[in-house]
């Protein structure tokens, strides 16, 4: 059996890659993809903990997270498209007219 530390470490690495992408990328589409990575890091944790403790609630939570992530990306892409229609740009530098 693979020790649980491996799963948690994998989750942490995935989460950090996602967080780095959210903070550094300038295209909002890539930022949305990085958010998906962060959500999946949590999913790996849930499944690993659920399998190790034998409690099914973790797997229920994974189903919920997947559906929430799908809904969020659907709305997010629509909002980014709307921003492109109105402002003709989707980069984070272009969408910075409001500050402070």
């Amino acid at each position: 059996m693979i020790p649980i530390e491996y799963f948690i470490t994998f989750g942490i690495i995935l989460f950090c890659i996602g967080a780095y992408g959210v903070m550094s990328k300038s295209s909002t589409i890539v930022v949305l993809m990085c958010i998906e990575l962060m959500l999946n890091a949590a999913n790996i944790n849930f499944v690993a903990f659920s399998a190790f403790t034998g409690d099914v609630m973790g797997q229920v939570m994974v189903i919920m997270t997947i559906s929430v992530a799908a809904a969020e990306v659907a709305v997010g892409i629509a909002i980014v498209l709307n921003a492109y229609k109105v402002r003709k740009t989707v980069s984070t530098e272009g969408l910075a007219s409001m500050r402070w």
């Binding site: 949590a42 609630m57 929430v68 921003a83 969408l95 409001m98």
Partner: protein, 504 residues
Amino acid sequence: MDASMISDLFGEVTPIIPAVIMIVGALLTPALYYGLKRRDVVTAAAMVVIIASMVVNAILLSDDYAGTYSGIFEYNAFSGLMMLLFQIVASLTLFVSVSSTETTILHYGAFNSLMIISAVGMMFVAMSTDLVGIFVGVEAVSISSYALVTMKRADPRAAEAGVKYVIIGGMSTALTIYGISMIYGALGTLEISELAARLGSEGYTWTFVIGLITMVAGYGFKIAAVPFHMWAPDVYEGASTPVSILLAAGSKKMGLVVFFKVFMVMFVGAKVVSGLDIEAVQYIFAILAAFSMTVGNIVAIAQSNIKRMLAYSSIAQAGYILIAMAVMTDYALTGAMFHMFTHVFMKGGAFLIVGALVCVGIGEKITDYNGLAKRAPFLAFAMLVFLFSLAGIPPLAGFTSKFVLFSGAIFDEGPGGVMTQWIWLAFIAILNSAISLYYYVRVVKAMFIEKPVKGAPAGSIRIPRTFMAAIVVCLVMVVVLGIYPDLILGPCKDAADALLGAYL
């Protein structure tokens, strides 16, 4: 009518019936608008549904009804009171969005539906008994409010605010769910009622600490506490004013409900049951509260747009309410809930006046309000009352609720009577109230003393009737709650007992 009649009628679904009634409304409004194409009919239908749900909830609450549905949702004094707050916010916003020129015409049915769904999400957060329900409820609110923010007519700022909100909201979702997964790993359960006992027996493991930090950060974004606040002013400015009210008065309160339901119950329970030392956690929340108050109030001074100024003031108000999270007593929690109620009316009222003036063509800059007292004496007076109430001038509601909230940090039920540990937090809060008076009075000065800019129209202003009615309701509540606080203080006390009663 009393609670037994409702429970006879609906049987086992009685605990969630206020939310179910509202979901029916959410499904009905898009169909009505598609068929009839009339905004007033759709709003009337939505209002009927919300008021029906509010009446049912008020009857259950006044009869001290308590029950659970399938072990997932629980109705008690706390969830009932918080649901009433969310219903008040939803009815205020829906009522004014019919005549606002900022709200969408093309998708008005969907706009109504999304607004009701976000209110229902908040109600599910107040009711749910495990972290799964809380997570899904918070996401229902977030995802519908992303769409609501972007649904503003012809304003490039709304598009930008929507993108910012969806990215920061998605990031906060990811942080939250990662925190929940770590807490699930550390404590082995998602049931809120079991978290306290498990934490007491397990103690602080590194898994739990990582989970706690990421989860507090994730929900910190929802309540816009410093340093997680940077989205709030942009989104409040970009969104149409009814949506700003929903976010400032509703969505923020939902985050605070999560803080009370999950963290306060967990730590107070662990302390009482197994003597866990929670002082470090209390200091985390105290620092969060102190920073939110101070940064919110100081940055608000520099704002020239009134919606941004109200947004920063809203961040500061969240800081005041977070005092209860630092002190973690029954009395402080009562004060926090009381302040949540008065904040709805005073911040909602101030935003309503801004929204009404936008409808008649007055801008959002503070200089646009110069000489307003001559053109609209009643509106200027109402704005003065709301702003003075936010600053905490007696005898208005803001003073009474701040008095109860701040004395929660000082008053101790023990023999000494004074809690020396948190007195500095009360001191910072009072100092901040004094700072906040500066930028509130600036608006009052613009309205009553400054001369209007040259070339501005001078005739009297007629705002839409729905806005007028909503402003009058808020004004009456601000004055009544200031003079007669027992109206809501009693239910707040019951709610605090329902939440923490098992550990007192």
